[in-house]
């Protein structure tokens, strides 16, 4: 309530709250996303004890990939299995 009134009184500050609020939301959402998808975090020790084993050999888990052809060429690779 007080925030809405404050914002109406100072509309020029709206982008500030937008970006700062977005940053706070990202600071909360990114760790939760990592908990769900990062291959080195063990959440469910009983059902999924080795989350990194789900990564395929043609999959890139880093943010930036300067050589996408390298990974694309690995689609046909078979994992050495026993």
């Amino acid at each position: 309530m007080g925030f809405g009134i404050f914002l109406k009184a100072n509309p020029a500050l709206a982008p500030l709250f937008l970006f700062a609020g977005g940053g706070c939301a990202a600071a909360v959402a990114y760790p939760l996303y990592l908990l769900r998808t990062h291959p080195e975090i063990q959440l469910d020790k009983k059902n999924n004890p080795y989350p990194w084993q789900h990564i395929k050999q043609h999959q890139n888990i880093k943010f930036i990939n300067a050589t996408p052809d390298f990974y694309a060429g690995r689609k046909l690779l078979e994992r050495p299995s026993y």
Binding site: W52, Q53, K56, Q57, Q59, N60, I61, R74, P80, Y82
Partner: protein
């Protein structure tokens, strides 16, 4: 100098998409465990197991290998080597 030359092929552990970062600790451990799982499942003479053997010898520090081998012999190694 003799006339015949032998070419020596030098290889190391191949790139593994599961472990793309600089920290190869888990890569080392995974190959160690996979080698012994391979041995227990297929026997020591099964040739493809050698790939895991070469990989962990290339990746793991020798102290870790000897420590894990000792633990394995004592039965105190916490990793699960059964398939």
């Amino acid at each position: 100098m003799s006339g015949t030359e032998e070419t020596v092929l030098l290889t190391t552990a191949a790139f593994d998409a599961r472990f793309p970062n600089t920290n190869q600790t888990k890569h080392c451990w995974q190959n160690y465990v996979d080698y012994y799982k391979c041995i227990s499942a297929r026997g020591e003479e099964f040739a493809p197991c050698k790939q895991f053997f070469k990989a962990y010898h290339a990746l793991c520090p020798n102290e870790w290998i000897s420590k894990w081998d000792e633990q394995r012999e004592e039965g105190t190694n916490p990793s699960n080597f059964s398939v």
